[in-house]
Symmetry: C2
Subunit: 207 residues, 2 copies
């Protein structure tokens, strides 16, 4: 297909596609004349992936490049790919200087028997949330964590099961990447539904 | 305290505080001279809440006003307050036109026996995620939902329990508001930790 059709089918504007081509996020098409190229379904697929990483994941171009590199590396395991994604999505500006929040996160990880280093994205993100909770006076927010841990372990098993059922390693790696972004958005949506449900049931039982 | 101290202790710049005062998000201080006012710990508390709603929740000023109105309404129940928050955080631009995704979300809600109307934020958000999953070729993503539902119901029980233990209704309402934003960020962080753990265990068991 021509670049115009690639744009139509992916929903990505042609100038943006050209930018991705220049940045190497999309392989060049096959030249059919000095200034015209042909693109395949593989390009369309990769373009949709880039779009999802940028729009859903909020990733920078450099981070997308890292993630695609992990995807294209035949020697990379699922486990390693998950680490690359986590590093790519790491927000650079989480304030982890609150010592109380840091100690709360450390004690939580230890209680769970989890092996989560303090320099990982997940650990820093948790310290950030606990810091905010303290700042806004929700001093007992930390008490939620153990309950969350059990539910999140269940979510992680569901995710792993999904990835392991995939036919090819390529597909599985992409599932891991997208699952991280899509998964967070999905959990937020399903959680909002469940809260509504639980709250309604509680309101009904009270009235 | 003077406005400068209010700024220092809340981490909100003084011009921003003045803007919030003009917009009615923060009640006026007690005038001690024609151009000087005194603020209390109640102002500091409210200001930290506004900051969290804007920074964490990404809420517009109008949405913050709605949320604070719900908080200050003595007749509002916990259940109703949760609805107000959901409406306030609703992103205006979720594309829910994909009929397959819409039907997937409807069937999911029906399977769970949940009462979640198609015009609610949570429903639209789910349709949006399922649309993206389809666009990027993750056609089996929808299979994750039932597993997510069980874990999210567990999260909702943990949240409700947290809110119900609070000493006052005011505190509980604030817990609901903040829990929505802080909770999503916390679940994302804890989920990242749990995925790492589950993936590591799986990698170890494979050799």
């Amino acid at each position: 297909m021509r670049i115009a059709e690639l744009g139509r089918r992916s929903g990505v504007p042609v100038p943006t596609i050209k930018y991705y081509l220049r940045e190497g996020l999309l392989p060049a098409g096959e030249l059919t004349s000095p200034n015209q190229a042909r693109y395949t379904d593989a390009h369309l697929h990769r373009l949709r992936l880039v779009r999802a990483l940028v729009e859903l994941g909020g990733l920078s171009i450099a981070a997308v490049r890292d993630v695609l590199g992990a995807l294209d590396d035949p020697d990379m395991s699922l486990h390693k790919a998950m680490g690359t994604v986590s590093a790519a999505v790491a927000p650079p500006d989480v304030d982890v200087s609150d010592e109380v929040a840091h100690e709360q996160a450390r004690a939580f990880v230890e209680r769970q028997g989890w092996d989560c280093p303090p320099d990982s994205y997940a650990f820093k993100a948790l310290v950030g949330v606990l810091t905010t909770a303290r700042e806004v006076g929700q001093h007992r927010f930390v008490d939620l964590l153990d309950g969350y841990a059990r539910a999140c372990a269940q979510l992680a098993e569901v995710d792993l099961d999904y990835v392991l059922r995939m036919a090819s390693k390529d597909e599985a790696l992409e599932g891991v990447l997208l699952g991280t972004f899509l998964g967070d958005a999905t959990v937020a949506a399903v959680r909002a539904m469940a809260r509504r449900e639980v709250s309604e049931r509680h309101a009904a039982s009270e009235g």
